[in-house]
């Protein structure tokens, strides 16, 4: 019997040590980009201020229970004592021990209520961004808002660009299944439910790039459905807006890029829109994703190279080195670095080319139309296009012009 209680003591140490390590490691150990304990905006701070004491209280109660159990085990182990009196309980003690946790929880509840209603506030919103989820990327569109210089709607995907110190309201919905929008550093998550418009408030204190991930299971490539929120200073944001609204610049005559434009018009424009792109006959090239893609939408590629990611945010458009430079830049220069966009030397050629070569091989998708009886033959994701290496080079050259 002694060996048993010694083992139990050891186990208790393990548990205590474990709890300690957990708390230390989780809160300040690893600087993971999606760490939920490193708030970078007022909304996430509200949550953080609430959860830290709750975790502390929970930890203390856990310790008390563990100690009480272990003490009991040691004290009352069978040492040959007679069979004890058959007592059936002490109601007064029971009621006390019921009321104490109830009181603790009541206190927690009061603070919880405060936080819930603080987080639900929308009437002081300063800026609106529409966010639409679909398998497996996010589309952002900015409705006309003159106070930010947005005089015509801006449409983008992959990265959410927002000004710092501004109360931004995301209006979320989805085109197919339920997704969930989550940038842990800025706020908790909110589901994007098809048929509903739901709101989530984001506000960043300092410029920077904040990582997130779709957290509602949404099919094959759920794991690859990432998002990044780019917070820019107000001046930088104005520059970004100006660039997004800049007119289309056709590639130089007889360049490789111009040949790429032709390939794009032949292949890509079936689904992907580039605003301002004209067909040879002078009519605007309008994409018709609704005829090819089940969700009726594919990323708009206007100003593609102003983003750092492609295929939603599944892959980096920047090479690893360039990406790290932007991500690790101090907050006062991150805006400048970001606005530089993707240059030819920084382009992640390898991933972009293999994506164009065979997209379904890189990302699990329902991209085989023959298997899609239920969708009437429409794809869910980008199909294999059988492009030649030559075409791919031309396309890459063209895409690089979409600054």
């Amino acid at each position: 019997m002694t060996s048993v209680w010694i083992m139990l003591v050891k186990k208790s140490r393990a548990i205590l040590g474990f709890a300690a390590i957990s708390i230390v490691a989780a809160s300040c150990g690893t600087n993971a980009p999606q760490d939920t304990w490193q708030p970078k905006g007022p909304n996430s701070k509200i949550i953080d201020d609430l959860q830290r004491p709750v975790f502390a209280v929970a930890g203390i109660i856990g310790l008390i229970v563990a100690v009480a159990v272990i003490y009991t085990l040691i004290k009352y182990r069978d040492r040959g004592q007679p069979i004890p009196e058959q007592t059936h309980g002490k109601p007064a003690l029971e009621i006390t021990l019921t009321i104490i946790p109830a009181l603790i929880l009541a206190v927690v509840a009061v603070f919880t209520f405060g936080a819930i209603f603080k987080l639900a506030k929308t009437d002081d919103t300063e800026m609106i961004i529409n966010v639409t989820g679909q398998q497996w990327w996010w589309e952002y569109d900015y409705p006309t808002q003159n106070e930010f210089g947005i005089t015509q709607p801006i449409i983008s995907s992959g990265q959410l660009v927002m000004p710092v110190g501004t109360k931004v309201l995301l209006r979320e919905t989805s085109r197919d299944v339920i997704h969930s929008y989550w940038i842990p550093a800025l706020n908790g998550k909110r589901d994007a439910v098809p048929g509903r418009v739901q709101t989530l408030r984001l506000e960043a204190d300092a410029p920077g790039i904040y990582a997130g991930q779709c957290t509602e299971f949404c099919g094959l490539s759920h794991a690859n459905m990432r998002m990044e929120a780019v917070a820019l200073s107000k001046a930088d944001f104005a520059k970004w807006v100006a660039n997004q609204q800049a007119a289309y610049v056709a590639p130089a005559k007889d360049s490789l890029a111009q040949q790429g434009e032709e390939v794009f018009l032949n292949q890509c424009v079936r689904c992907h829109q580039v605003n301002g792109l004209m067909r040879a006959d002078g009519t605007p090239a309008i994409a018709a994703p609704d005829e090819n893609v089940w969700s009726g939408s594919a990323p708009n590629l206007t100003h593609l190279m102003s983003r750092n990611t492609f295929a939603g945010a599944s892959f980096d458009l920047l090479s690893k080195q360039c990406r790290d430079e932007v991500w690790n830049a101090p907050s006062d220069v991150v805006g400048t670095k970001y606005l530089a966009g993707v240059t030819e030397e920084c382009l992640n050629q390898k991933d972009l080319r293999s994506w164009l070569r065979n997209a379904p091989a890189m990302l699990p998708m329902y991209a085989n139309a023959t298997q899609l009886k239920a969708t009437g033959g429409k794809y869910r994701g980008m199909p294999y296009l059988a492009l030649t290496e030559d075409d791919i080079s031309k396309l890459v050259a063209y895409l690089l012009t979409l600054k």
Binding site: N31, I116, H222
Partner: protein, 662 residues
């Protein structure tokens, strides 16, 4: 009562039948037989309990292998063990198997075996319905798993959120199999719950008031009520889903104006009580084991009973805490946040009472006791992490991350599974007349506890570091820096899962070794307290030679011990053998148990044929329907005991009873 006095019942109905000396064919009602027929056509609650247990154990291994594959895939970044499609099927089926095909049937097994014994009954209220329930469960489980071989299993997660579960997003038949299979298992649960509720309410031994009922029976009764009311809700949800997938209904079709949150509400109105359905049986087991090995009654028995009932009630008002991120609006979120905190109170009461039960006792650390103590500690961890996400704003950071995975594995593994293992070690001598090896049990316990903490402990950290659930791969880009990043904790968790697997393997080895060991267990190896120990090991077919009259909670203990008025300590007045001998001396005459029946298995067999037909060809469904109708009328026309004429050569073999007992 389920005792059939065979007297002249049969002749009384007016059919005057002489027993033919020879008959041909199989059209006789089966009578208590030997060999496989004794199991397949049985209506004996103990045999059915064992079959439930064996089925559950089989699916536990299936679900466990699925879990190991998941952990292998996630051990390192960009795992290549499974592809995305297979991974999605794997985690869907892991959860489905563990919840519906392991923990629930295992609890049903314990309930079937021990409730009649604990309340001093000879059988359950409806023995044939009991058999039907088991076969439905088995066939339902097989039906769900058939999908692995017929185009792929369900891939929408066990929560199967619409519209991702719709025909467009999951074009294989996996979800059809899943929905119909769960429907079948649901009928099994429903029949089981009706049966046990009636048994408990109606068939208690004389003198056993509700507040003298053993605590395990109490907790199981609460569970049966939860099942009774929760199963129809999931039934509705599954019907809506099946109608949408198979008949073009539009319940979750957003283009028609549908609201996908309907599914979530229906699912969680079932799904949250389901959590208590999974964990309360183990609470019952622990509340039996702790007093026995503390040599002291359960502290605050009424409090434990009422807290169980309270959990059963409040459990209905907390479902939307699974939906804090779904966009319910702040008022609903606040309300459900509050109710969720409220349900922590009765749960806390249980922990306190268990601790106080041990306080002042004479603690014997058997393997069963160790598992129970493990449950107290580990379930507390799970409960407390539960409190952290009853705080809704904090939950919006935690939900759908590994923190939640950690939480419910502490609750379900640390709670439900450890309780079940405690039950195995405690009741094994009762069920099989042999003791599981305590030495192997010790290893089994420690490997399981260490493995479980290694597996699920790091998931707390992973979740708080921001790793979402249900990702078939994780990338280094989001893993963080330093030693204690995703990579480290994921690897620890994967190693832990194999330690855990070895622990469970030891249990299986223990079972095999015990089965081969000829040593019989003593009659009352643990010095137990409740009625189920007042019979032989294993019990006779009719359970009790004489139905005991109950005077105390812990009746058996009080027949063995008496309080010394001076010291208030207990002294032994009789051994278990003496108590039993006393019973045998006054044995009832003319006990006839219900005869076995073909109909339960035939009726149960028709159901998967129907559902199979629903998926592939309606003609098959019609065939199944005809069999179903045939079987149900056969059932309705069958008397509970076979006519005398069907008992073969009684003179030579004695009564059925004599053959099976002992």
């Amino acid at each position: 009562m389920a005792i059939i006095e065979r007297e002249t019942e049969v002749t009384a109905t007016g059919i005057d039948i002489a027993t033919p000396t020879t008959t041909y064919g199989v059209l006789k009602r089966p009578v208590a037989a030997t060999g496989w027929r004794a199991w397949v056509f049985t209506v004996d609650h103990k045999k059915l309990g064992l079959m439930y247990g064996a089925t559950a154990m089989f699916f536990f291994i299936v679900g466990g292998v699925e879990a190991l594959l998941i952990r292998l895939q996630l051990a390192a970044p960009n795992g290549k063990v499974l592809n995305a499609d297979l991974y999605n099927q794997m985690f869907t089926m892991h959860a489905t198997t563990m919840v519906f095909l392991f923990v629930m049937p295992m609890a049903a097994g314990f309930a079937n075996y021990f409730i009649p014994l604990q309340i001093g009954a000879r059988d359950v209220a409806f023995p044939r319905i009991n058999a039907l329930g088991f076969w439905l469960l088995l066939f339902g489980g097989i039906f769900i798993n058939l999908s692995w071989f017929l185009g792929g299993a369900a891939d929408g997660g066990w929560f199967m959120y619409a519209p991702n579960s719709g025909p467009v997003f999951s074009p294989t038949h996996g979800i059809d199999f899943w929905a119909f299979g769960l429907q079948i298992a649901g009928v099994a649960s429903l029949t089981g719950s009706i049966n046990l509720i009636v048994t408990v309410l109606n068939m208690r031994a004389p003198g056993m008031t509700l507040m003298k009922m053993p605590i395990f029976t109490w907790m199981m009764t609460v569970v049966q009520f939860l099942l009774l009311f929760a199963v129809p809700v999931i039934t509705v949800a599954l019907f809506l889903l099946s109608f949408q997938r198979n008949f073009g209904a539009r319940f979750f079709d957003v283009a028609a104006g549908a609201d996908p949150l309907l599914w979530q509400h229906l699912f969680w109105i079932f799904g949250h009580p389901e959590v208590y359905i999974l964990v309360l049986p183990s609470f019952g087991i622990v509340s039996e084991v702790l007093p026995v090995f503390s040599r002291k009654p359960l502290f605050g028995y009424p409090f434990v009973v009422f807290s169980g009932a309270a959990i059963g009630f409040v459990g209905w008002g907390v479902w939307a805490h699974h939906m804090f991120a779904s966009g319910l609006g702040p008022v609903s979120v606040a309300v459900f946040s509050l109710t969720t905190m409220a349900i922590a109170v009765p749960t806390g009461v249980k922990i306190i009472n268990w601790t106080l039960t041990m306080w002042g006792g004479k603690l014997v650390f058997s393997t069963a006791m160790k598992f129970s103590i493990g449950l107290i500690v580990l379930f507390t961890v799970g409960g407390l992490s539960g409190v952290t996400h009853s705080v809704a704003p904090s939950d919006t950071q935690q939900t759908d991350t590994y923190y939640i995975v950690a939480h419910f594995h502490y609750v379900l593994f640390g709670g439900a599974v450890l309780g079940i293992f405690s039950g195995f070690y405690y009741w094994w001598p009762k069920m099989f007349g042999k003791m599981l090896s305590e030495r192997l049990g010790n290893w089994n316990f420690w490997l399981m506890v260490i493995g479980m903490n290694l597996t699920f402990g790091p998931m707390h950290i992973l979740g708080l570091q921001g790793q979402p659930r249900r990702m078939y791969q994780w990338t280094e880009a989001r893993a963080g820096e330093g030693l204690f990043n995703f990579a480290f904790w994921n690897l620890v968790a994967s190693i832990g899962s194999f330690v855990l697997a070895v622990g469970i393997l030891l249990f299986l080895i223990n079972v095999v070794i015990t089965a081969r060991n000829p040593t019989k267990s003593p009659l009352d190896p643990w010095n137990s307290r409740s009625l189920e120990w007042m019979t032989s090991n294993p019990p006779k077919e009719h359970n009790f030679d004489v139905i005991p009259t109950v005077h105390h909670l812990d009746e058996f203990f009080h027949r063995k011990y008496e309080e010394d008025p001076a010291t208030h300590t207990m002294r032994q007045i009789a051994t278990a053998e003496e108590v039993l001998a006393e019973q045998e001396r006054n044995a009832d005459k003319h006990i006839h148990m219900p005869s076995p029946s073909y109909w339960p298995i035939v009726l149960a067999g028709a159901v998967p044929i129907i559902t199979f037909g629903m998926i592939f060809s309606h003609l098959i469904a019609v065939v199944g329907g005809v069999i179903l109708l045939f079987a149900s009328f056969g059932w309705a026309l069958e008397p509970s005991t076979a006519p005398e004429s069907d008992f073969e050569n009684q003179a030579a073999h004695g009564t059925a009873l004599d053959k099976v007992g002992h």
